[in-house]
């Protein structure tokens, strides 16, 4: 009798759980559908009437630790060159902007999952992204990878780093370069240490755990500007370009954003914003055409 009772209770529990599971999955699928419906509705609208614009929320995916393109300011708000440009684009199109901090090594997965509408944060354009079907905007920034070292280390070129250890951030183009195109250089290092943020890379360097950090030029420039005792070895390694990534199928969204950026360039707003970030002005493609 007791066993029977227990069996009944257990089956009731299981049924209850499955019921909950069923309803919650229904709940979660509903907004997703709604969202796709919204984006579909918004896209042609945005493409047709760029000036008027359709009220929508545009979620910008950023790496919150990537100064000067995207970072947290003294007040705790997200700012940076990319964030300000995006804000200007949204103002022009009448969109509401939201900033979403992605996990950089999962950024494209998060984009696909709809957690953000674009990845716009000093993102290096990789061929593999286009091959995987993502829509990538026109490049807006020309970049190289540099080696950041301590001033008193006596290191002056990449050749000096033979047998030394070098830190790189996971998910950055520097990391892929060291695995592929610059593998020969990477093989001369005693070790490549992969960190999950630039802060950790720089802490490792400052704390003498590594001898150099392989990093994007603008990040190195902003770090050197704020911290004493570091210097940059620039050998124009791994030339590359930055762009904005959208989901496949969001071509209209990409066109709308590119159109708005072109207008910002034309009316001088772009140059005004860029002037606040003197370290990167020289490499901005739209201003140096």
């Amino acid at each position: 009798m007791k066993k029977l009772l227990a069996l009944c209770l257990v089956s009731a529990l299981v049924l209850g759980l499955t019921a909950c599971g069923g309803s919650s999955s229904a709940d979660s699928s509903a907004p997703a559908e709604q969202e796709t419906a919204e984006t579909e509705a918004a896209e042609p609208e945005a493409a047709e009437t760029e000036a008027g614009g359709e009220a929508r929320t545009f979620i910008m995916g950023i790496d919150p630790e990537y100064p000067p393109f995207s970072y947290m300011d003294d007040k705790g708000d997200y700012t940076g060159f990319d964030v300000e440009i995006c804000q200007a684009v949204c103002d022009r199109l009448g969109w509401e902007m939201q900033v979403f901090g992605v996990n950089w090594d999962q950024k494209l997965v998060q984009l696909d999952a709809g957690e953000c509408d674009c990845v716009w944060s000093g993102m290096t354009i990789l061929d593999s992204m286009k091959e995987s079907g993502y829509i990538i905007s026109k490049p807006y920034f020309y970049n190289t990878q540099v080696l950041l070292v301590k001033e008193d280390s006596g290191l002056a070129s990449s050749a000096d780093l033979a047998g030394k250890s070098v830190a790189v951030q996971l998910g950055t183009s520097g990391e892929s370069l060291l695995q592929d195109d610059l593998k020969d250089l990477a093989d001369t290092f005693s070790e490549v240490v992969t960190c999950d943020s630039f802060l950790k890379c720089f802490t490792e360097l400052d704390g003498n755990a590594v001898d150099a950090v392989f990093v994007d030029l603008p990040v190195a420039l902003s770090y050197v500007a704020e911290h004493e005792g570091f210097t940059i070895i620039n050998e124009e390694l791994g030339a590359e370009e930055y762009g904005i990534a959208f989901r496949s199928g969001d071509q209209a969204l990409c066109d709308a954003v590119e159109g708005a950026v072109a207008e910002l360039v034309a009316d001088g707003t772009y140059a005004q914003i860029a002037a606040k970030y003197p370290d990167i002005v020289d490499n901005l493609i739209f201003l140096n055409e």
Partner: protein, 215 residues
């Protein structure tokens, strides 16, 4: 990258994963016993302090403890960051797991009835003898399932060493996933962890059986 190359590359990191696992157990199991004994001390100050330490270790994320052990000395005292990351990683893991083991030991020790201590006293056992020969063997039997639980969790927690840039298996998996824009390395990592835990399960089950001498 071919599938075989991927698996091979990730197995390189498996050695480091195992290093964290075995060294953590080696240090945390005995350290946990010391903490448990301090926690049960008759001296209220010692017991209270130990209790606080345990609550800090259990109440803050292991990830933060890893960061604190690795980078704390540098930020606080300007010491160099350790080049061999295995040292801070094992220290952080061992201390954290010792706190959990301590509470498991305490549960086991307190579950033994007072009558046994009294009986041992009557038979002329000294206190240390009572503990080592009568209490501890029974405690070991009773706590095995809980210890297995923690050990299984430890296998999976090794992936957290990534926070301080220790290149263990999961870190390498993430790197491959990233450069190949593929989810496959995560599947491989899942299988690695599962197989690792299946072995742990088997070994712990075997030990439990061997300890089953009274029933």
């Amino acid at each position: 990258m071919t599938f075989t190359a991927m698996v091979l590359k990730m197995s390189e990191g498996l050695g480091r994963t195992c290093a964290i696992f075995f060294l953590t157990l080696l240090f945390s199991l005995p350290l946990g016993m010391c903490i448990a004994l301090l926690r049960m001390s008759k001296n209220r100050v010692i017991a209270g302090v130990t209790r606080f330490v345990i609550s800090v270790l259990r109440g803050t994320p292991l990830m933060l403890q890893l960061l604190a052990v690795t980078y704390g000395p540098y930020y606080l005292f300007g010491f160099n960051v350790s080049r061999n990351k295995l040292i801070p990683v094992v220290i952080a893991f061992a201390i954290n797991y010792a706190a959990y083991f301590a509470e498991i030991y305490r549960g086991g020790i307190e579950s033994i009835s007072k009558g046994q201590y009294e009986a041992a006293e009557v038979l002329g056992y000294t206190r240390p003898q009572t503990f080592m020969r009568i209490i501890l063997p029974q405690v070991m039997k009773r706590i095995m399932p809980s210890v297995t639980n923690e050990v299984v969790t430890l296998v999976k927690d090794t992936s957290m060493a990534f926070t301080v840039s220790y290149q263990e298996m999961f870190t390498i998996g993430k790197q491959i996933a990233n450069s190949q824009t593929s989810f496959l390395p995560f599947v491989v990592a899942g299988v690695f962890y599962f197989v690792f835990n299946a072995i742990v399960d088997y070994v712990m089950g075997h030990i439990e059986k061997r300890l089953d001498y009274y029933d």
